[in-house]
Amino acid sequence: MATTTKEISIGDLGARSSEATHHSATELQGETMALNVGPSHPTTHGVLRLKMELDGDVVKRCEPVLGYLHRGDEKIAENMTYNQFVPYTDRLDYLAPLANNVAYAMAVEKLAALEVPERCQAIRVLCSELARISSHLLGVGVYGMDAGAWTVFMYTFTEREKLYTLFEELTGARFTTSYTRIGGVARDIPDGWLGRVLEFCKGVLPVLDQVDKLLTRNRIFMDRTVGVGVISKEDAISYGLTGPNLRACGVDLDLRKDKPYLGYDKFDFEVPVGTNGDCYDRYLMRAEEVRQSVAIIRQCIDKFPEGSYYAEDAKKIFAPQKSKVLTSMEELIQNFMIVTEGPQVPAGEVYFEAENPKGALGFFIVSKGGGVPYRLKIRGPSFCNLSILDKLIPGHFLTDITVILGSLDFVMGECDR
């Protein structure tokens, strides 16, 4: 698959910061009030803290303070084998752990120049898309809740619960799935699971329609979101936004289309692109992406490949089956080496990013050979998406902050890592 490159300008850093300060230096009347929102506040979806300066009800300045959920994941990664780090990726964007697992495994496999079998790819596509649905359902639901429509949240959350049951069947855990291994996935899909996924897909669309009826043409919701939190195309690119937030601004960039991985080029789906870049567009993006994900899942299950769910020839990377380990000497040694030393990956460095629900989740891995990364850097899409806050928020009402934050749909687990 030939990839095309796109002109993307990141702009001048100095000009950007001076513009941001200029933006807030508009004329004031009377005194301003300093207001601290978070780190524990219903609107911040976790532990984001915003230091704001209010003029009446209008925000004059906003400074996001991050790091309340910092765990040092990147440093932790240097002290464990590649497979041991998979559970840590669950905790990045914890609303779509499966997609993180997949992105991480693919990054390491890219370093090892390993191609996983078709069946494994299909399983991973299912994982990514189900995770996308799960994340966007919560994104849309919480967004509705932020705007005051609680019921939307309950409707979408009910569907997520069904998804969690599917995840539990697949991985053994509802929330922290840790499903992928380098070179494959932890286990094959259970019997009849695909049918149940299809059943879920059938059930999720009517719920989306309900949400549509409750929000999309709702006058109050539109008043709250249309023209609020507008991000221009240029800003979106220069601040490094990705995912639905970028596409809402009218930039047609979806890694699944532009740099296809996991055989995404075989699927027929559309990438919704917005026009205004406001909160309303960001809501529409997510709702539509769920529909597209359902379409991908259906196509994927339609032609679900047979074969192995892991790379059988990667003897030094994927641990052999337990039954073989107990009967054959060679496999026993293989298993021992992979468990103790980790999957053997050649020296080199690699950057891979996947189109996750929140945006492009990237892993940059430097390896000096062996089973442990020398350095692992994570590009969290939420972190980059939040970087625009100090430019985006000033000038809006305090109540708008809720909607803007909700529309950016960030997860602090990924932001602080």
Partner: protein
């Protein structure tokens, strides 16, 4: 005996008042339950269904039914508020802080006095309202006293001495001022029709109901009814107008710093205002205890008739309460400035226009029929 006879005229109102407050507080408690249950049903949940009282809850089938419907939940909620630790944050202005919940609840309980909830036929065959005080200026008293409720919220906001409640208090006061105006203006045409010069009822709520025997005012004053309803939502601080609380951006709004029973009072006050608001709306625009728009008062004389009228009136009020709950769990919240512009730029001009229009119609009508 002699003492009883002389003191009876004084004792009786007290007994009535106590009975009325008990029933009213019971209604508040069960509106809270209704809110929780109805929201549960709307959202595909079950709602409270676990609380079980020792004896009542163990009656064979009925006990399970009552438990499932959550009928014992209000008792548990109330006890929780009572027995929680009473926390007073160190930074508050104590006297105002304690005063605020009282100021919030008292107006609702006071307006209840002039709200009729049924009618009976007295010995002379004249229809009389069932009300604690049948005041000629009934509606004015309701308007005057119920708008005092905002002081509770504003006081709470200021006394908490903390930023989120402060913002909530400011929003609440601004919102009240803007909607009080259009509410009053929406009511004027109603009384221009119902209490025409020379009519015996004046501005009493009983008179308004009696004047609706042929047609409900809501049907031929739909604009007034609509404006009143919207203003009612704003006045009771309910979603989509709950600027004072706005829990997603103001945490808890004016009651952020309140807990335990003091919060309980705010909570009850909100529902008390809803009930009073619903009752007033039913009396003014939905015919009170009149049966159907063109089928007035088939209830008959005697105790049965009186009870039927009360029952029918309450049924309408319950529907209104349900409507309040329904709206809350369906609609998103307005932004503060949008609420303001709705109040000043839409409702107020429409209310004034409605008033002028009705004035002309009445003038023409009077001229023609004179």
């Amino acid at each position: 005996m002699e003492l009883l006879n002389t003191s009876l005229p004084y004792l009786l109102p007290i007994v009535y008042a106590v009975a009325m407050i008990s029933v009213f507080m019971g209604l508040c408690a069960y509106s809270v339950l209704a809110e929780r249950k109805v929201s549960g049903w709307i959202q595909g949940r079950v709602g409270p269904n676990r609380t079980r009282l020792p004896l009542l809850g163990h009656i064979p089938i009925l006990g399970n039914l009552m438990t499932g419907l959550g009928l014992f939940q209000p008792a548990a909620d109330g006890l929780k508020f009572l027995f929680k630790e009473e926390i007073t944050p160190g930074h508050v202005r104590k006297s105002y802080y304690y005063l605020a919940p009282i100021v919030a609840l008292a107006p609702a309980l006071t307006t209840m006095v002039v709200v009729p909830f049924g009618r009976y036929v007295d010995a002379d065959g004249v229809m009389q309202p069932l009300v604690l005080a049948n005041v000629d200026l009934g509606m004015l008293i309701v308007l005057a006293i119920s708008s005092l409720g905002v002081y509770g919220i504003v006081l709470a906001g200021w006394a908490s001495n903390s930023k989120y409640p402060f913002l909530g208090g400011i929003r609440a006061s601004a919102q009240m001022i803007s909607f009080e105006l259009s509410m009053g203006l929406a009511l004027l045409p109603v009384f221009m029709w119902a209490a025409a010069p020379g009519s015996e009822y004046g501005m009493s709520l009983f008179g308004v109901v009696q004047s609706q025997q042929s047609a409900w005012l809501g049907l031929w004053q739909p604009l007034s009814a609509l404006i009143f309803l919207v203003a009612l939502f704003a006045e009771t601080n309910r979603l989509p107008f709950d600027m004072a609380e706005s829990e997603t951006d103001l945490v808890g709004g004016f009651h952020t710093e309140y807990g335990a029973f003091k919060f309980g009072l705010f909570f009850v006050a909100e529902y008390a205002h809803i009930i009073i608001g619903s009752a007033v709306f039913v009396l003014l625009f939905a015919g009170g205890w009149n049966f159907l728009p063109w089928l007035a008062d088939p209830w008959g004389d005697g105790l049965i008739g009186a009870l039927l009228s009360v029952g029918w009136f309450m049924a309408k009020v319950f529907f209104m309460i349900f409507f309040f709950i329904w709206m809350r769990w369906t609609l998103p919240r307005f932004r503060y400035d949008q609420v303001m512009s709705l109040g000043w730029k839409i409702l107020l001009p429409v209310a004034v226009g409605n008033l002028v229009l009705n004035t002309f119609i009445i003038a023409i009508y009077d001229t023609l029929t004179r």
